[in-house]
């Protein structure tokens, strides 16, 4: 008997014209692990919200059809009544933590359900051990890293011992190490007790361990199948706006009918099939890189140290120079000082010690406005800055503050909206837009002030595959149009594909600074910092070619002319 049964489920949010879900029918067996995919707005989160009764009890709208959990209709039960059967972990880990310290957080759920004290104590110990937080039990959750917070949220939900666990984009705000640790914890939990899992996560490549995928499109189930089946349908998947499996794309690009689980397997299979790296491949790439020489030094950071009022030293003696026309990715775990560094470049923070030079001139004792004219900073969350009722006014905010004439302001707004593909949308309310488009409004707002350097803090967080590619194409266009670009990102595939230089940070220091090729071909240094190169780069490294994207990798391969072409061996798995 399936533990989750949806029969012809449709849902329309109050005030919406289109239904978010249309006649969804699906059954999920007890113990099954299901990955839910789909572009943003496809109905993934809406579907997940029905599983613990958040829809219809906490979200207004029109629900039709039946949702049965463990044989009971969710209409009859609020989320709190289902809490000991369906656990829910949200993307926003801050909003899920309420308690003074780690142990009390885990105890909060069982307390609400009236679990006896001895049993609560046993569960606190058990689930903190399973998510590897037992050493931090007395620590305040405010002092934890993002990854630790999300693992704490997981433990506190598991302490209710539900049969079903729903994870709604739990890793979107985490760094690569935090993501890996969270998935490890989920796998450990699943080994310990029978658990049905429904996971939403846009990183298809990291979801290969599920039993079954369900892909939604416009509120309907568009595709479903095992990871193997979906690997074969990678083209269809991308047509639905979902990121495909990199290794499956690689295999089909070189005409191999194989299924690879990881980069090692892929590299071996590619060699076995008679492919090798062209002799001049590395040389060709380096020559192409060198053609794009950068301009003169714009910004110089010298021995920069920053101490926050509470005494923590966020930056310790950082030095680097940014040249005109560069495209730099600043990489490192959460808390390594990336955001603190870029806030100095834009003049929001003043150095505790050290200096910043602008075209060779020291800014010591100078007003920082000169810096903010030159360097625009797009913050991570567009909702932290959007306030106007019309997109046009939002974008005009910066230029108006610079005291420009209205004619000039209007011209710049049009230009900026044009650049981010929002021409003609100027009179809309920014809040009717999707997250991806609001991000574009934020970029346009910065563009309209005409900064030479544009810094973007995590520009792709929360965007689906297509929105991500659109955003990065936009940033690349800006770079080609002459803007110097710095991005902070946890998305290694983005950094590898678009940036030409990488700066690696750890504990407030720059530990490596080099071309993207140097940075990504040195896999062990990246791993040491908790950063995993994207799959295509991993395969390239194993084949010994400094390719940064799938296309570059494929272009650098050739069939060995002497070896006879063996038939592609069938996969054993």
């Amino acid at each position: 008997m399936p533990v989750i049964r949806l029969n012809e489920v449709s849902f329309r949010y109050r005030g919406a014209n289109e239904p978010a879900l249309s006649e969804i029918t699906c059954h999920i067996r007890a113990g099954e692990l299901v990955g839910l995919l789909g572009r943003s707005g496809s109905g993934r989160s809406t579907l997940a919200s029905t599983l613990n009764g958040t829809i219809p009890h906490l979200v207004r709208g029109d629900l039709r059809g039946q949702v049965h959990i463990g044989g009971q209709d969710i209409r009859a039960q609020r989320p709190r009544d289902l809490a000991d059967r369906v656990g829910f972990v949200f993307q926003d880990f801050e909003a899920q933590l309420f308690s003074t310290n780690v142990a009390l957080e885990v105890a909060f759920g069982p307390e609400n359900l009236g679990v006896p004290r001895e049993e609560i104590s046993r569960r606190v110990d058990r689930y903190l051990r399973l998510v590897r937080l037992e050493a931090l039990r007395r620590k305040a959750s405010a002092g934890l890293s993002g990854g630790q917070k999300q693992r704490l949220a997981l433990a506190s939900v598991m302490a209710l011992e539900p049969q079903v666990l729903v994870l709604d984009e739990p890793t979107s705000d985490l760094d690569p190490a935090g993501r890996a640790d969270l998935w490890d914890a989920v796998r450990d939990l699943r080994r310990e007790r029978a658990l049905t899992l429904v996971i939403i996560d846009p990183e298809t490549d990291e979801m290969g361990w599920v039993d079954r995928f369900i892909v939604l499109d416009r509120g309907r189930i568009a595709l479903s199948g095992t990871p193997s089946e979906l690997r074969r349908a990678t083209g269809t998947l991308e047509g639905l706006g979902v990121k495909g499996f990199t290794l499956a794309r690689l295999a089909s690009a070189i005409g191999l009918q194989e299924e690879w689980q990881d980069a090692d397997q892929a590299a071996t299979a590619i060699r076995t099939a008679g492919w090798r790296v062209k002799e001049d491949a590395a040389e060709t790439m380096r020559r192409a890189d060198a053609e794009r020489a950068n301009g003169e030094v714009l910004l110089e950071v010298e021995d920069l140290t920053h101490r926050y009022p509470d005494g923590t030293e966020a930056l310790s003696g950082v030095s680097c120079a940014i040249r005109r026309g560069e495209f730099v990715a600043i990489l490192g775990q959460n808390g390594s000082g990336k955001t603190t560094l870029v806030k100095h470049l834009n003049g929001i923070l003043r150095p505790t010690a050290g200096d910043i030079r602008l075209s060779g001139q020291s800014l010591r004792g100078q007003p920082l406005t000169r810096l903010s004219r030159l360097v625009g900073l797009v913050f991570q969350n567009p909702d932290h800055q959007i306030f106007a009722e019309r997109i046009r006014d939002e974008v005009a905010f910066g230029p108006r503050l610079q005291g420009l004439a209205e004619g000039e302001v209007a011209r710049r707004v049009d230009e900026a909206l044009e650049a981010v593909d929002l021409a003609g949308a100027g009179d809309l309310d920014p809040f009717v837009l999707t997250k991806g488009s609001r991000q574009r409004v934020a970029v346009a707002s910065t563009l309209a002030t005409k900064p030479e350097v544009i810094i973007l803090d995590e520009p792709t967080t929360g965007l689906d595959h297509r929105e991500l590619e659109g955003m990065m194409a936009l940033i690349q266009r800006l770079n080609q149009a002459g803007h110097t670009i710095l991005i902070i990102t946890h998305a290694m595939a983005v950094a590898a594909a678009y940036a030409r230089r990488g700066i690696l940070m750890r504990n407030g220091r720059i530990v490596r600074d080099g071309t993207a090729r140097e940075i990504f071909s040195d896999e062990s240094s990246l791993l040491e910092l908790g950063l995993t190169p994207p799959p295509a780069v991993q395969v390239a490294n194993r084949l010994g070619v400094p390719a940064l994207t799938l296309d570059e990798l494929v272009a650098s391969l050739t069939r060995a002319p002497l070896a006879p072409c063996p038939p592609a061996p069938r996969s054993h798995s």
């Binding site: 958040t54 909003a95 899920q96 003074t100 004290r117 003049g347 913050f379 932290h384």
Partner: protein, 250 residues
């Protein structure tokens, strides 16, 4: 940046029952409102500082000293100017007015310090539990703890929003009062909307953790009166009695 006041330490004050600390807090408020003269209020402040030192909570004073100092300055200056008295010092300022201002300053600062010591030595869960045992309904007690929980979130949002708008060129420091007020709209709208979204998230997360599912909830923390609580309450009552005696006899 940690914006919570609670300091997780092992001190005699930390291990007191939260109800004891609630009574001591109320007692110190009563003592403070009894007096207008700086002398006894200063004695009360000393008692509170000893209590705070025992609770190893005084380091939090560093976080609010600016507030305490500004209250003291504003109070002393305004009372000195506006309160009447018999002994002129200079201009309109009288000795009595000055003393009254000084007393008011110590009074308000003492009450803030007493609250600070309470929050520095008591977990919000203990406060909730203590309030429940004092027959406050759970929902009301929890609302109080949620309010404490939301303060750092809202401050955090405010800091980020301010930085984001400043980086777009917003200058909050120049202009007349009305102009400055208008400049805050780009701050207030995102802060308000983000707080709304946060509250919505919080409600969903609370529900999914079973909040409100049962009438009777259990507690992982244990509280109870011990010998130390008896001693603390007796000492507190004695000190309060002395203050009352001074007030109504002296």
């Amino acid at each position: 940046m940690n914006l919570f006041l609670f300091l997780d330490r092992d001190s005699p004050v930390h291990s007191l029952d939260p109800r004891t600390k609630i009574f001591l807090l109320l007692g110190s408020f009563v003592a403070a409102v009894l007096f207008f003269q700086p002398g006894p209020l200063f004695a009360l402040l000393l008692v509170l500082l000893v209590y705070g030192a025992m609770g190893r909570a005084l380091q939090n004073l560093r976080r609010i000293w600016l507030l305490l100092l500004s209250i003291a300055i504003v109070s002393i200056m305004s009372w000195s100017v506006f309160a009447r008295g018999a002994t002129p010092v200079f201009w309109r300022v009288t000795w009595e007015g000055f003393l009254y201002g000084l007393g008011a300053a110590i009074k308000i600062d003492s009450m803030i310090i007493a609250g600070l010591i309470f929050l520095s030595t008591t977990k919000t869960e203990e406060i909730v539990l203590g309030l429940i045992r004092l027959r406050v309904p759970y929902q009301a007690a929890f609302a109080f703890s949620l309010a404490i929980r939301m303060v750092p979130t809202i401050i955090g949002t405010a800091v980020t929003v301010t930085e984001a708008q400043r980086s777009r060129g917003l200058d909050l420091e120049s202009g007349g009062p009305l102009a400055r007020l208008r400049k805050h709209i780009p701050l207030l709208v995102p802060i308000f909307l983000d707080t709304l979204r946060n509250t919505d998230q919080l409600a969903k997360a609370l529900e999914s953790r079973g909040f409100g599912a049962r009438r009777e909830r259990t507690s992982y923390l244990e509280i109870g009166f011990h010998a130390a609580d008896g001693l603390a309450l007796a000492l507190g009552a004695l000190i309060l009695a002395i203050f009352v005696a001074i007030r109504f006899t002296g």
